[in-house]
């Protein structure tokens, strides 16, 4: 119950922050610009749907001594089959010759993406995967954003040795190849969603810190900041009230682009065998399964298609399109790969 309340609070907070962003000057400008582009609106809707589904999969209730999420409850009526069945098929796959007409080969329900080796609905697994994707995106953000924003603001505002130290720190971290560091980190601390968030969060703040530092350096020379300083307003208050609100667009751009890379990284790490634990419902785990299924004869293609083209691709593509459009609308100067 406490977990549910925390989650709902967190979701409301996210929506509220987004609302605050739309209300700022550059937020409203971006909103008006993006509203006319159909592609971007579609991408935004896809992101909302995936994250909403992922969120519903986190809200759980105790039913018959089992934790059931809302998604579990919605899919309650989908029966478990005996084994594989193709999408919309009425019989299971791989029927022993001579038993074609037997009743036990019939499937009990319709499965739009078929069923896997244990007879579980593949579409249901894909839906469950968006829950993991949501946790990964927000979990990484929760770790990397505070670090990136804090260090970036400090480096940009104070300059001098603080700047040198923070620059040294992020140059050092960005000198270690990203994937190698994440792999080493996961090997030392163990696998699982939490450690993936930690590993990626502790390395990916670098980009944000760099952007925030540059922006803060520009802002601190503006007249209103000088005026605030001349009035004797404490530094912490200047940073919080006058600088931080102007950085909101960097945060939102970084979030969409880092979410897409986290979801891709999860699938790669799980494929190597150090990502999430095998029992977790994630798209990476499904891809590992799909590797086996693709070598079977007759070929079981729907696990692969479901996890990659219904799961990963639409969400990551939408995040990329939306993030790019947002970046172009908000800040044409930071166009390019290095963000």
């Amino acid at each position: 119950m406490i977990k549910n309340i925390t989650l709902i609070f967190f979701a409301l907070l996210t929506i509220y922050l987004f609302y605050l962003f739309i209300k700022t000057d550059n937020g409203r400008e971006a909103f008006l610009k993006l509203r006319s582009k159909k592609r971007v609106v579609a991408a935004f809707l896809v992101i909302c749907i995936y994250f909403l589904v992922g969120f519903l999969d986190q809200i759980s209730f105790q039913i018959d001594n089992k934790n059931k999420t809302i998604i579990d409850l919605i899919f309650r009526g989908v029966p478990q089959e005996r084994t594989y069945s193709a999408p919309f098929a009425n019989r299971v796959t791989g029927i022993i010759p001579g038993t074609e007409n037997e009743e036990r080969n019939l499937v009990k329900g319709t499965h739009i993406l078929g069923t896997d080796i244990n007879g579980y609905d593949v579409f249901y697994s894909v839906i469950k995967g968006s829950g993991t994707a949501l946790i990964l995106s927000f979990g990484t953000g929760l770790i990397s954003f505070p670090i990136g924003i804090l260090l970036g603001i400090l480096a940009g505002y104070f300059g001098g040795w603080v700047d040198d130290l923070i620059q040294w720190l992020y140059t050092t971290i960005s000198s270690i190849p990203w994937l190698l560091f994440v792999i080493a980190f996961l090997m030392v601390f163990g696998r699982g969603i939490f450690w993936i968030c930690m590993a990626i969060g502790l390395t990916s703040w670098v980009e944000l810190a760099r952007l925030v530092r540059g922006e803060t350096m520009k802002l601190k020379n503006l007249d209103y900041i000088t005026a605030a300083r001349a009035q004797g307003i404490p530094v912490a208050r200047i940073l919080y009230r006058h600088i931080l609100p102007n950085l909101n667009y960097l945060i939102i751009i970084t979030f969409t682009l880092s979410a897409s890379s986290v979801i891709l990284a999860e699938s790669v790490l799980t494929f190597i065998g150090i990502g999430v634990e095998p029992g977790t419902s994630s798209w990476g785990v499904m891809l590992v399964e799909a590797q086996k299924e693709l070598t079977r004869s007759p070929i079981i293609w729907w696990v692969f298609v479901g996890s990659s083209f219904i799961g990963i691709l639409p969400l990551v593509l939408s995040l990329n399109i939306f993030g790019d459009a947002l970046r172009d609308a908000l800040d044409p100067r930071v166009k390019g790969k290095d963000v």
């Binding site: 040294w168 720190l169 140059t171 050092t172 971290i173 000198s175 270690i176 190849p177 994937l179 190698l180 560091f181 792999i183 080493a184 980190f185 090997m187 030392v188 897409s260 979801i263 891709l264 699938s267 790669v268 494929f271 190597i272 065998g273 150090i274 990476g284 891809l287 799909a290 590797q291 693709l294 070929i299 293609w301 692969f304 990659s308 990963i312 691709l313 990551v316 593509l317 990329n320 399109i321 790019d324 166009k335 390019g336 790969k337």
Partner: protein
């Protein structure tokens, strides 16, 4: 120039030390006995302690200061302090010494890591080098045309295709291409073949490159000298290849040099999937068998190559453009 080179070298040293410190803390902060147990799962307690001693894990972590011994001996007593040794007699400085002298140590099977790396560089290069060359040539030419015909259907569709290609996960490329070419079209004998891995490496990397180069070229195309050249009557192809491409060389060079380390470290997933006995496969084997020494060396090597790459690019900038200075 000499002064610039020396200063740039000195600037690299703190970063190099930082990399050493991070990798060291990551791998050596754990309980030494636990590290030993990973190496010898079935060994008795006494053998674990012996292993810890032989591998210098009983030394102080960073500085050999009085009272900083880290290890409890097998008999439960603390190790005597290393009073007669210098302050740098510690795990950290010994590992720095090893890395500087390229004494990379042994893997789990007691084989020198440096030897297996020498064997494994070539299979990695045989995949990554053709993929890299193809990738650079293709992405530069596509990006050049895309930037030249900007805002046309061609450019917009290229932009969409590149975003699409960047949104596909590497395992999906592997499984998809393997299925398509190996099982469906029966074109390539799937394993131990270079064509398919090279193709996948190009496909998975080209999207980001095209986008990056396109932005670089677009920036140059909006410059005044391009307009001047055009009004002078310089031919379009000359503008494109001489003025735009020529002036974009610095960013292009950076991205090329920065991807050089990955030629040597190879692609983990690709090599594991196709059974190519390269560096990526070595890393994969190390992950599966929990061989921390190999991973540590790999992380160090990757960072070392990256830092050397950025040093080289900065020096070549300076050669190409004398206005560049250290800020």
């Amino acid at each position: 120039m000499i002064q610039y080179i020396i200063r740039r070298f000195l600037y690299t040293i703190p970063i190099w030390l930082g990399v050493m410190l991070i990798t060291f803390l990551l791998f050596n902060m754990r309980d030494p006995i636990a590290i030993a147990r990973v190496h010898m799962p079935q060994a008795p307690e006494k053998a674990l302690h012996a292993w810890v001693r032989n591998n210098n894990f009983h030394l102080p972590l960073i500085f050999n200061l009085p009272g900083s011994e880290t290890m409890i001996r097998a008999d439960g007593k603390a190790h005597p302090e290393f009073k007669d040794k210098s302050i740098f007699y510690s795990q950290f400085f010994l590992s720095i010494k090893d890395m500087v002298t390229f004494n990379l140590g042994l893997d789990k099977n007691k084989k020198p890591i440096a030897d297996s790396m020498k064997e494994r560089i070539w299979p990695s290069l045989s995949i990554m080098l053709p993929a890299f060359v193809l990738n650079v040539i293709l992405s530069i030419s596509i990006a050049l045309f895309s930037a030249y015909y900007r805002e046309t259907t061609f450019d917009i569709s290229i932009s969409f295709v590149t975003v699409f290609m960047m949104s596909v996960a590497l395992p999906v490329y592997l499984l998809g291409a393997n299925f398509l070419f190996g099982k469906f079209l029966k074109l390539v004998p799937v394993y131990n073949h270079t064509a398919l891995p090279v193709l996948i490496a190009v496909l998975s990397g080209i999207g980001g490159n095209i986008r990056f180069y396109r932005t670089v070229f677009l920036e140059q195309m909006e410059q005044d000298f391009v307009r001047t050249a055009r009004s002078k009557g310089v031919s379009e192809s000359r503008i494109l290849f001489r003025h735009v491409l020529g002036n974009s060389l610095i960013p292009v060079l950076t991205s090329v040099v920065m991807s050089l380390p990955f030629l040597i470290t190879g692609s983990l997933l690709l090599e594991q999937f196709f059974g190519i006995p390269g560096m990526g496969d070595m890393m994969y084997t190390a992950i599966v068998s929990q061989d921390f020494q190999v991973i540590k060396v790999m992380v160090y090597l990757g960072s070392f190559l990256y830092m050397s790459g950025s040093l080289l690019t900065d020096l070549s900038y300076r050669l190409a453009d004398p206005r560049v200075s250290l800020s």
